[in-house]
């Protein structure tokens, strides 16, 4: 089957035929008995992994097993902030790899993921915030990542709605700015990877929950699913909030806790905010989607939760933060709120690599900030699965670091996690 190419011409051609001839973006095949590799979890990371396995490593006899609908996990419920200005080089290089992939992703996938490099501001509200910003921006520049420190005046010029008055509770003293950062259309990322992976022969199997992991003498041999047993001697698990559940199936425990993380959108407005604004101190993240809603992230709920919903006071706090930064948004209305399940690791960094079970790989722990990593994470994880060893980029993100103490502490520099 040749894949229909999306372009203005395909739109025109299909318009003429009343849009009756569009191909399926991906097939819905029945699962086969055996694959060379199985990817558990049809979020952005899982689909990207399958895509790069096929594209970069020629592994095409691959299936992605998704318990619900692809993109229905955190991929479909995040605030879509993309940036790579992380503090520690290990993290920065991984996220920067991802950002580079983002920059060509729409064309690579032939699916417009609406990656919009509108800039990301991380506000500083205290002298210590400003030290941390200086430190992080300096590190970013040495790592080859674009980063600037901007003054309140520059912030005000770029974001007229923001309150830079020095007479507020937490005045804005400055910000870091990554101009190459921005947002992308979350759903399109899942769908674009799915379509591109499918075109390379990957089977995307939805409504197929994995309920068990088969092992034999310390090697993985396949999985049990709601649609029967499927064999494979390589299984990559990328299930975000459910990582501990899957680990349990293989007799492992992970250094993770799953928490609700909430977000909400306003009703759609005419353009008022042209960049992404994040503030760790007052705890609010905001951007405006192309459809016009303000997309706002709240803080994480304290308790463990798999409910895809959190407590209302968390939303209240996020509202207060947003009004503190943007007093004019007080009359804007919240249209919808929701939650995701984020898998938080002790150092706020992911775990990507091998496990004590041969052939079983885990990619998890992205917590509140893995959307931006989707292409890079898939790329590195595909390498790890195909070669049975991590790429240099993800080698530092092994499970062993928790034993040896080589944590990559992104909490450290008060860097905002998203």
């Amino acid at each position: 089957m040749t894949r229909q190419k999306y372009s203005i011409f395909s739109l025109l051609r299909n318009a003429v035929s009343r849009n009756e001839n569009w191909q399926q973006a991906w097939r819905s095949p029945a699962p086969r008995k055996k694959y060379d590799a199985l990817i558990v979890g049809g979020g952005g990371h899982g689909l990207a992994t399958a895509y790069y396995l096929a594209k970069e490593h020629g592994m095409r006899n691959v299936a992605v097993l998704e318990k619900g609908w692809i993109g229905g996990g955190n991929t479909g419920r995040n605030t879509t902030i993309v940036r790579s200005n992380y503090l520690w080089t290990e993290a920065a290089l991984l996220y920067e790899k991802s950002l580079k992939l983002w920059e060509g992703l729409s064309r690579d996938l032939n699916y417009n993921v609406m990656f919009s490099q509108r800039g990301v501001y991380n506000l500083g509200h205290s002298l210590q915030d400003m030290r941390d910003i200086e430190r992080r921006v300096g590190a970013n520049r040495l790592d080859g990542i674009d980063a600037e420190v901007v003054t309140p005046e520059q912030i005000k010029a770029a974001i007229p709605m923001i309150n830079t008055s020095p007479r507020v509770r937490y005045p804005i003293l400055g910000a870091s700015l990554q101009r190459r950062g921005g947002v992308a259309r979350h759903d399109a990322v899942a769908w674009g990877f799915a379509r591109a992976a499918d075109a390379l022969g990957v089977d995307i199997i939805q409504q197929c929950e994995v309920t068990g992991i088969y092992r034999d003498h310390g090697r993985v041999t396949g999985v049990e699913t709601r649609r029967g047993r499927i064999e494979a001697d390589r299984v990559g698990v990328v299930v975000a909030g459910h990582a501990s559940v899957l680990a349990g199936m293989a007799g492992l425990r992970l250094p993770l806790e799953s928490h609700p993380l909430q977000a909400y959108v306003s009703e759609p407005l005419k353009p008022v905010l042209d960049t992404v604004v994040m503030s760790g101190a007052v705890h609010g993240y905001i951007s405006q989607s192309d459809k016009g809603e303000l997309v706002i992230g709240a803080g994480i709920d304290a308790y463990n939760g798999y409910g895809q919903r959190g407590s209302f006071h968390t939303i209240e706090h996020a509202m207060q933060a947003i009004i503190e930064l943007f007093p004019a948004f007080s009359r804007v209305r919240m249209l919808r709120q929701w939650g995701g399940i984020v898998d938080v690791s002790p150092d706020a960094c992911p775990i990507i690599g091998k496990t004590p079970v041969q052939g079983l790989y885990f990619n998890c722990g992205w917590g509140t900030g893995g959307f931006k990593a989707t292409p890079g994470s898939g790329w590195a994880f595909a390498h790890t699965i195909a070669r049975d060893e991590p790429h240099d980029l993800n080698a530092p993100f092994s499970l062993e670091r928790f034993t040896t103490g080589a944590l990559i502490d992104e909490h450290g520099a008060a860097a905002v996690a998203h």
Binding site: L11, R169, L269, K270, D290, G292, F312, S330, G405
Partner: protein, 1003 residues
């Protein structure tokens, strides 16, 4: 003036005319109108433009399900974007505009989009604009400006908001017949009841129902019921209050609109109040939403839900048309025809898809000469800015296929009814499942997950008798469950004046058409997002089959009505495409809020001044009067420096530091956390917490200590003192105070409950005044005191209690500056008096107050760390060179972690001093350190500058830094990579710059 206002009828007050403006046009309405009813009365048909195709749109509904009539209310700072005209109560002087349509609503240039509509099919934007990449910015600009329903205010909100925490036994959501009966039944038991209804007037469907209760019009019973409720002291009646969210553990939010409505617009008080309710039991009586029928060009202005039309006629005395056609699949819509006939409008035809037609309700209409087309459907509507005619055709008995025999019927109003969807929103938010009910053809609530029950139309009980009875039962049961005994009372008798005996509804979601739906004019499902039947078909064809995918790919239900109007039709069309029953397709997830809630209401009072507590020390007024600049440290405000005339930060700090080093300076250190530890096991406990040996510390002595997290990282530091045999006193960092106390309590209570130790916070009890400098002892010795300040009697690192100038104090001879210094603790009420006494007495020594900046400089000159500045959660005591603080003889929290291989690596970052080799400028704090300038990214980083100041005492800048293997690299020259690309040379030195022997502090 109001061409479509009926001469009589309705609940409006015709004696109170109101003037308002809509898109620049001046109109009139009456008190009791909504903006929607007034617009209709004024003959205004086009009230909006659609999202994608910019088609003219009219009012479809009468409540929260309205997708089209979205207006911007007011102007300037008080403007409100995105309101539904159906929910805006009219007031005099109201100004409304629509955000869409340029140059105007009737003629909108972007309606050319419709010409391109085949190009704009579902998800078209995912398929193009990909190359060249840099153009996306431009496309995006276009997209962004084409979308958006409202315009955000640009100025600070002039209004205020508040939260209100309420508790009740029974919360009733919805004040229709079912809800009112439930509230009455519960209230009669004495239970605490809250009943909320989103509308301006309580009553729900009773406000427009033609039924009689106990022989009177429904309104009479309604009035009595409300009266009765009002008289119950434990009942709270909340009109204009939407139950917006149903969260866990029976926590619900209600948005009360206090000053958005006419009567109270100019009154003082909050604009909106968010009720945060914890309810014992919840009774959901939200009613139901009528479903549209989907057919080609079903979005013509003038197409309206049948119940909405009845509502406009009966409640507002408005009939927005002269010649109506009714299109329905059920008996209920016939009542609308009756309403029309009653007010003298002509009903051109009733199009009923059911071959068997309606029951008794059809009789009076037949008698009135209304044409009833049984087994017919509407397959088109003409009239761009208002419906002019409809096209009808006969259908097969199962309503699944069209037959020949097309007719055109002229009309200026088309009322449609496809049945009813129970409002299961709150039930679902609460975690309740919903089930498809084949008999009633709708989703109804299944088993509740929390303590709630659905009654009336939102439970699928569509007859008034059933609503009343269910409400009553539920109210009584709820009261009982909360421990109250309900008093008996009778359910009102529903009159039978109106014909009953209904024929069953025939499910019809979209009309069958001769060809594929994509080959007919657009059939809209989601009006606001312009989602059509063709879009759903295309989505399925492209593989987006799950209902959630269809929602996201086509934007079905993504609009501001959240699919209240069309979603179920959408699900059914999807089911049809997939060849599955609707039940299997299911719905998308219902999420809060039920209708939009302003950010301001969610935030409540916690904005501006009250956003977050400002904590001030007891000495704050003095600092302020002294002209201090303040630094925000967590919630605290601390004096940062005290500029004198003409001084900036640098000059002031230099002066303050020199005073501390040369003579006498004074600082407010009250924000330090302070904890008393008492009990026979106090020492044992502290041994496990601190890294150093506690046992060795004698009564009256102090020690510097650090505590680690179990991961071995430095968590906090401070001075600890032994005040007695079993009595210790600890200080923590300002930011760490609460965390440390919590941490200690946690270990005590959860891990070592056998230890007899008690902790008490005294942070607020004591204010701390640091007296610093070579003259400090002289000053104290000159003051009235029972404490001996002699060097021998009060040595460094000891503590004394006694009176000083008449004040009871606890004085610690500790030093965070490296100078001879005393930290005087005094009861906070006396702090200002003691401070002033010290200031006066210190005059002779030139006593100089100093702030946090000078404190930082002084301690940096000594190489003392600040946890959180020189450490960041990834720094061990070994890294800081604090090995001397680590006991080998005991276990303590975090000790084991220090033995892990990566905590032992020689190349870990270690605390060192840095001297800039180039010029007198201080290195920027946070600057990264590298071996050599230049190099290809990623450049290896050695560490970073954690603290950096100009040292007036030394006459040059100094810095502290964390540098890889730094301690072994004394005197090496490395480079600080500045942001401007410059690299400056810096030499690694000892972190102790001043008085390395510590003679001054011990002086």
């Amino acid at each position: 003036m109001q061409p479509d206002r009926l001469s009589t009828g309705g609940r409006i007050d015709r004696s109170l005319p109101l003037t308002f403006r809509f898109n620049g046009r001046t109109c009139q309405g009456y008190a009791g109108d909504t903006l929607a009813s007034a617009l209709l009365a004024n003959g205004i048909r086009v009230v909006g433009r659609s999202f994608k195709y910019h088609r003219p749109r009219g009012i479809m509904a009468i409540g929260a399900d309205e997708p089209n009539a979205i207006v911007q209310l007011g102007t300037g700072a008080a403007t409100i974007p995105g309101l539904r005209a159906t929910e805006v109560e009219l007031y005099d002087g109201l100004v409304a505009t629509t955000a869409r349509g340029w140059p105007g609503l009737k003629f909108d240039l972007l309606s050319v989009n419709e010409f391109f509509s085949p190009l704009l099919s579902a998800g078209f934007y995912y398929k193009t604009f990909m190359a060249p990449g840099f153009l996306w910015r431009w496309y995006e600009h276009g997209f962004r400006h084409a979308s958006g329903l409202g315009i955000s205010p640009r100025e600070t909100d002039p209004d205020s908001y508040e939260h209100y925490n309420a508790h009740c036994d029974v919360l009733v959501a919805g004040g229709g017949p079912a809800g009112l009966m439930a509230a009455l039944a519960a209230a009669k038991s004495g239970a605490r009841v809250i009943i909320a209804d989103e509308q301006g007037e309580m009553g729900g469907s009773l406000l427009s129902d033609g039924a009689t209760l106990n022989g009177n019009p429904a309104g009479v019973w309604l009035g009595k019921a409300l009266d009765e409720l009002q008289r119950c002291p434990e009942v709270i009646i909340l009109p204009r209050s939407t139950v917006s969210g149903y969260y866990d553990h029976n926590f619900l939010t209600i948005l009360e609109r206090c000053r958005d409505h006419p009567n109270q617009r100019d009154a003082e008080g909050v604009r909106q109040r968010l009720w945060r309710v914890r309810a014992g039991r919840v009774i959901l009586a939200q009613g139901s939403h009528e479903r549209p029928l989907v057919f080609p060009d079903n979005d013509r202005p003038g197409v309206m839900l049948a119940s909405a039309l009845s509502g406009y006629i009966r409640r507002y005395g408005v009939c927005p048309g002269r010649r109506a056609v009714i299109f329905a699949n059920n008996d209920g819509a016939y009542l609308t025809a009756l309403d029309l006939v009653q007010v003298g409008a002509s009903v051109s035809a009733i199009i009923d898809c059911r071959e068997y037609g309606a029951g008794a309700v059809a009789e009076p209409l037949r008698e009135a000469g209304v044409d009833i087309y049984q087994g017919y459907i509407v397959t088109g509507a003409s009239g761009r800015n208002g419906v002019r005619s409809v096209q009808v055709v006969p259908v097969s008995a199962d309503a699944g296929a069209v037959k020949s025999g097309r007719k055109i019927i002229h009309c200026d109003l088309l009322a449609i009814s496809g049945g009813w969807n129970p409002a299961v929103h709150l039930h679902s938010q609460a975690g309740g499942r919903i089930h498809w009910d084949d008999v009633r053809s709708c989703f109804i609530p299944g088993a509740p997950r929390q303590d709630h029950v659905s009654v009336g139309a939102c439970n699928g009980s569509f007859s008034l008798d059933a609503c009343l009875e269910e409400g009553k039962q539920a109210g009584q049961e709820a009261a009982r469950a909360c421990g109250f005994e309900p008093a008996p009372f009778s359910t009102p008798e529903v009159g039978r004046e109106r014909p009953g005996e209904a024929h069953p509804l025939q499910p019809l979601w979209r009309v069958p058409l001769p060809r594929s739906p994509r080959r007919h004019p657009k059939q809209f499902i989601d009006y606001q997002n312009d989602t059509t039947v063709a879009d759903v078909y295309q989505a399925v064809q492209e593989g987006y089959r799950n209902v959630e995918h269809v929602k996201r790919y086509t934007a079905l239900g993504f609009g501001t009505d959240q699919g209240k109007l069309g979603n179920i039709n959408g699900m059914a069309v999807l089911a049809e495409c997939l060849g599955k029953p609707v039940a299997e397709v299911g719905t998308t997830t219902f999420r809060p809020p039920y209708t939009a809630v302003s950010f301001g209401a969610c935030a409540g009072a916690a904005v501006g001044d009250l956003y977050d507590p400002v904590r001030k020390t007891a000495l704050h007024d003095w600092h302020e009067a002294a002209g201090a600049e303040f630094e925000v440290v967590g919630q605290w405000l601390r004096p940062w420096y005290y500029p004198r005339a003409g001084e900036g930060l640098d000059e002031a700090v230099a002066r303050e530091c020199l005073a501390a080093r040369r003579s006498l300076a004074i600082m407010d250190a009250s924000t330090l956390g302070k904890i008393e530890v008492q009990g026979p096991d106090a020492a044992t406990f502290l041994e496990r917490i601190y890294t150093h040996n506690i046992a060795r510390i004698e009564t009256g002595r102090c020690a510097y200590g650090i505590m680690l997290g179990e991961d071995g990282m430095v968590m906090d530091d401070g001075v600890m003192a032994r005040l007695g045999g079993q009595h210790y006193y600890l200080t923590t960092t300002t930011g760490g105070a609460a965390r440390v106390l919590g941490w200690l309590e946690q270990w005590l209570q959860t891990e070592w409950p056998e230890l007899k130790v008690y902790l008490t916070s005294v942070t607020e009890r004591w204010s701390t005044i640091a007296l610093v400098g070579p003259d400090s002892r002289k000053l104290l010795q000159g003051m009235e005191s029972d404490i001996d300040f002699n060097r021998e009697d009060f040595p460094f690192m000891s503590v004394r209690s006694g009176s000083l100038a008449g004040f009871a104090t606890r004085i610690f001879r500790v030093s965070f500056s490296g100078e001879l210094a005393y930290e005087i603790n005094v009861e906070s009420d006396f702090a200002p008096a003691l401070w002033q006494t010290l200031m006066a007495a210190g005059q002779q020594y030139g006593i100089t107050p100093y702030g946090t900046e000078s404190m930082h400089v002084l301690r940096a000159e000594k190489g003392f760390i600040i946890v959180g500045q020189d450490t960041d959660g990834s720094v061990t005591p070994l890294d800081l060179g604090l090995t001397w603080l680590l006991s080998r003889d005991k276990d303590y929290l975090g000790k084991r972690s220090l033995a892990r291989p990566d905590c032992r690596r020689p190349d870990r970052k270690q605390l060192v001093g840095l001297l800039c080799e180039e010029g007198p400028e201080a290195l920027p704090e946070g600057a990264q350190l590298v071996e050599q300038p230049g190099g290809e990214p990623p450049v290896a980083k050695l560490g970073h500058v954690t603290s950096s100041y100009y040292s007036a005492c030394l006459g040059h800048p100094i810095a502290l830094a964390l540098v890889s293997a730094g301690r072994a690299r004394k005197d090496d020259v490395i480079h600080a990579a500045l942001r401007n690309g410059r690299c400056v040379r810096a030499r690694i030195v000892s972190p102790v710059f001043h008085d390395p022997e510590g003679e001054r502090q011990r002086a």
